[in-house]
């Protein structure tokens, strides 16, 4: 049970500075945040607030300029790109606004993709992929190609894909940005269910208040800094 004692994410004085020509743009100006296992948080903020940069660093797609990032207790602030790729492969799940499914490739093969790079044997891959598709309720679409599916279905395929390596953290970047209101709430309900039933740790980045309100905890960014970090009070009574 030691795993639950170690926070999934702990960042200290995290800074990210971009150099554009002669100008320095401060995307993150010193951020401290801890995400415990089983947490479900929304990261909010207008564009340019630093929330996307934050997600990229947490997702190990990018490196901080300064500060320390502990992922599952390990300092990952200064890893090589291969080391980061390996952690992404084994411990992180990604969901994107535009689904990012491979075209002309069946749903189940799309779900299998991360396992291809993790080196999991083929029959094992198929079994796990179908199992995760069952969880998100699209097992019947296994053989369909993305262009034969609705946006909501495609996003479910993407969510199933993010689950296949039993990640320590799922990062969803504007997961409902391309969906209508009804489908959006279905997808958010799925995230809530994954958090509640499977204990998945989930971080959703969004600028939509309604979407953010599905999480247990809401973190707001502005100008590269966290301006508020509080539990979702609307849910507090219900939970």
């Amino acid at each position: 049970m030691s795993e639950s004692a170690v926070p999934v994410v702990r960042v200290e004085r995290l800074r990210k500075v971009y150099t554009v020509g002669d100008d320095q743009v401060i995307a993150l100006g010193g951020v401290d945040l801890t995400i415990e296992s089983g947490d479900f948080l929304s990261v909010m903020g207008p564009s340019g607030s630093g929330k996307s940069t934050f997600m990229q660093i947490i997702g190990l797609l990018d490196q901080p300029t300064d500060g320390t990032y502990y992922f599952e207790g390990k300092d990952v602030s200064n890893l090589t790109s291969d080391e980061r790729a390996d952690i992404r492969s084994r411990r992180l799940g990604f969901v994107f606004q535009s689904y990012n499914l491979l075209s002309r490739t069946s749903a189940v093969e799309n779900v299998e993709l991360p396992m291809v790079y993790a080196g999991i044997p083929e029959d094992e891959r198929r079994r796990i992929a179908l199992e995760k598709m069952e969880i998100v309720g699209i097992a019947q679409l296994a053989k369909h190609a993305p262009n034969q599916m609705s946006g909501g279905q495609q996003q479910r395929v993407a969510i199933a894909r993010s689950l296949v390596n039993n990640p320590g953290l799922i990062l969803a970047d504007e997961p409902t940005g391309a969906l209508d209101t009804k489908t959006s709430s279905d997808v958010m309900r799925l995230f809530k269910q994954l958090n509640k039933d499977l204990g998945m740790t989930i971080m959703v980045v969004t600028h939509e208040f309604d979407v953010a309100m599905n999480a247990r905890r809401i973190v707001s960014f502005r100008d590269g800094l966290i301006i508020s970090d509080k539990p979702n009070e609307t849910l507090a009574g219900v939970a």
């Binding site: 790109s81 492969s89 990604f94 491979l102 993709l113 080196g119 894909r161």
Partner: protein, 405 residues
């Protein structure tokens, strides 16, 4: 990732874009097919030249009279009248000489029954069939006693038989009149076909050289002495011995120039085959250029493909592909593409080659090394031209790649 898994991924990516993959391969397919066909034609021509030279005779050395100057004009080799059958007898005594035959050649009209035909009448010795490795199909060849008696006997080539005796009856025992002299046909040569220079070797009549000299040319000299060395290794030695012997017999003291010329066919064969080899490499070089053009086609399409699949690359990186893995994958795509193109090219090349052999009646051989070479070269083309686009893909930043529109 294992090699198999990488190849699998590459294959899947190529199958996803079938039409484009096929079109991209086309350059390589055409290049390899061109290499195979040109090399097959070149090698076929070369081996047919070699075999026809070998068909001229076993380890053959030819002695011809030298050139003479008549009133300031020099004749070519063979112009002098310096070789006699006695020279031939002397040469036959040399060690390492298997057989010698004088050759007296004249082109003349031959009449038999109601038919006549102009052909080459060769006066030779009985050893001729051995020297030329030319068996008898019907009847028999004349003997040494026929030579001694200057007998009026003749052995006909197949073409002459069909021209003079078109009714199909065996010509043995019939009479053929050469320059007014009646010869009895005692044998028919087996068909030999065309010579290396395209002459019909079957269009000939063989008679004893003594008969040709006494009854037809009226000369005491011969046109050629054909010498067969005992083995291929002895050719150079025999050539030297013959030269020395004839210098002695003809009382030639250096620096006086020889009134004869000794040649062996190995040098002609070597020259012919090296000419063929040069042609072959030239053709293969042209074909190799087309392979490089095909490679540039692959590079072009791979560049387009990397740009088009930028988001896919970003996604693959996000879900855990290392940049080395992406490099491998794109490189594998280029190699699979070019190698399959190469294999299809080999198949088309082999088909094309048999087409050429069938339609143009051109002898062809496909040296297996060229099949291996051209497939190997296509794979190299894939590696070479696939590397740059693959590196471009591997160096993409996953964040920017995922945002790419």
């Amino acid at each position: 990732m294992t090699l198999m898994a990488t190849l699998r991924l590459a294959w899947q990516a190529l199958v996803r874009n079938k039409a484009r993959s096929l079109l991209t391969m086309l350059g390589i397919v055409i290049g390899v097919a061109a290499v195979i066909i040109t090399v097959a034609i070149g090698a076929g021509a070369r081996s047919s030249v070699q075999s026809s030279i070998a068909g001229l005779g076993a380890n053959l050395i030819v002695v011809q009279p030298g050139s003479v100057t008549q009133g300031g004009a020099r004749t070519g080799f063979g112009g002098a009248s310096s070789l006699t059958p006695a020279d031939g007898m002397a040469i036959a005594q040399l060690p390492d000489v298997a057989a010698v035959s004088p050759l007296v050649t004249l082109r003349t009209q031959v009449v038999a029954g109601g038919n006549n035909w102009q052909t080459i009448v060769n006066g030779v010795a009985p050893t001729y069939t051995f020297i030329r490795d030319w068996p008898i199909a019907q009847g028999s060849f004349f003997t040494q006693s026929d030579v001694t008696a200057s007998a009026k006997v003749a052995v006909l080539g197949q073409t002459v038989v069909s021209q003079l005796f078109p009714d199909g009856n065996p010509p043995i025992g019939q009479t053929a009149i050469v320059k007014g002299v009646p010869f009895t046909v005692i044998g028919v040569l087996a068909a030999k076909g065309q010579s290396g220079t395209g002459q019909d070797q079957d269009d000939t009549i063989l008679i004893p050289y003594s008969s040709a000299m006494q009854r037809l040319t009226g000369l005491t000299t011969v046109n050629q002495l054909m010498v067969s060395a005992a083995s291929a290794d002895a050719i150079d030695a025999v050539q030297a011995e013959v030269t020395t012997l004839l210098q002695t017999r003809h009382r030639i003291v250096p620096p006086e120039s020889n009134d004869f010329q000794v040649r062996n066919l190995q040098s002609i064969a070597a020259a012919a085959s090296s000419t063929g080899a040069v042609m072959e490499f030239l053709l293969a070089g042209v074909a190799a250029v087309s392979l490089i053009v095909g490679g540039i086609g692959i590079m072009n399409i791979m560049m387009v493909s990397v740009t088009e699949r930028t988001r896919e690359i970003g996604l693959r990186m996000a879900v855990g592909a290392r940049s080395g893995t992406i490099l491998q994958q794109f490189l594998a795509e280029a190699i699979v593409l070019s190698t399959i193109g190469g294999l299809i090219g080999v198949v088309l090349g082999v088909l094309g080659t048999s087409g050429v052999a069938l339609l143009a009646k051109w002898p062809t051989t496909i040296p297996p090394i060229w099949i291996a070479l051209s497939v190997g070269f296509s794979a190299l083309v894939g590696i070479f031209f696939g590397y740059y686009p693959a590196r471009k893909a591997a160096n993409l930043n996953p964040i920017e790649a995922l945002r790419f529109e």
